[in-house]
Amino acid sequence: YAYFPGRPRWDRAEPATLSYALSPQYTVGYLSQEDVRAVFRRSFARWSAVIPVSFVEAVEYRKADIRIGFYRGDHGDGQPFDGVLGVLAHAFSPEDGRVHFDAAETWALDFKREKAKVAIDLESVATHEIGHVLGLGHSSVREAVMYPRVNPRTRKVDLRIDDVEGVQALYGSNPNFRLSSLLESESENNGG
């Protein structure tokens, strides 16, 4: 795992709570807002399960700590999106809170419903970008959520030990989290 220069993190009194919101304006029309909100609820929950930070959906977008939107091309932050595939999304280091997805992608919530060969799993990328929001850089461990590449029609949402150790070094461990259960899970995934 790796961090941004200076190891920035959200510096909040414990128990830390961060608010997030989806832009009401910058959306993708073919996805239901309720489904997208559910994706982000699950994505944030994965991180809050391992660190003593909780996430709540804000009522007002502009006042949220973490602001999520879908943008096309040059959207004013100096990092224009490039159309289908290429760069899929980006996020900013703590405590900026901006998370941007390329609206030109074919974002999928369920590959059984979305048949496009270029479909990208929204939940996988959301979980990855939240890692950046929390302060993690890219990992060189291919199985890690924080690995920078993702292939179309591929789902990778479960945090791996590399992700967990990285984020816990920044925020500490959630008292309810058991590393042994994650080790067992990874061991099973690796064929024992």
């Binding site: 790796a2 190891r7 595939l85 290429g86 899929l88 990328v125 950046h132 850089g137």
Partner: protein
């Protein structure tokens, strides 16, 4: 009209239209000059492997570019060869996150 019995095969290359062109650099080695390699250098610059300050990249596979390729291969867990082999070019052309790969501040990837 499509004639009866004709099968139309549509192949979708799951890669960005710009990055797809990078396949022509496969197997280019140090010291070679290939038209358009400056674009590939810009890609490496964008993700932190070459200095962003250099705007006029050449098309020559030079020492700095070899170091960038080595760093890229190391960061992405690829075989470290310093060459633009098939695995490396495939990794370059894959869809990815827009955050740079080398913002690390002394933190080394943890190996277990």
């Amino acid at each position: 009209r499509t004639a009866p019995g004709t099968v139309t095969v549509v192949t979708v290359d799951a890669r960005n239209s710009t990055w797809r062109d990078f396949s022509r650099f496969q197997d280019a080695g140090k010291g070679t000059q290939v038209d358009g390699m400056s674009e590939l250098k810009r890609y490496f610059s964008r993700f932190g492997y070459l200095p962003a300050a250099v705007s006029d990249f050449t098309d020559v596979f030079d020492d700095d570019f070899e170091s960038a390729v080595v760093a890229f291969q190391t960061n992405l867990g690829l075989d470290v060869t310093g060459e633009l082999n098939a695995e490396t070019i495939s990794a370059v052309m894959s869809p990815r996150c827009g955050v740079g790969d080398t913002p690390v501040d002394g933190a080394q990837p943890l190996r277990r």
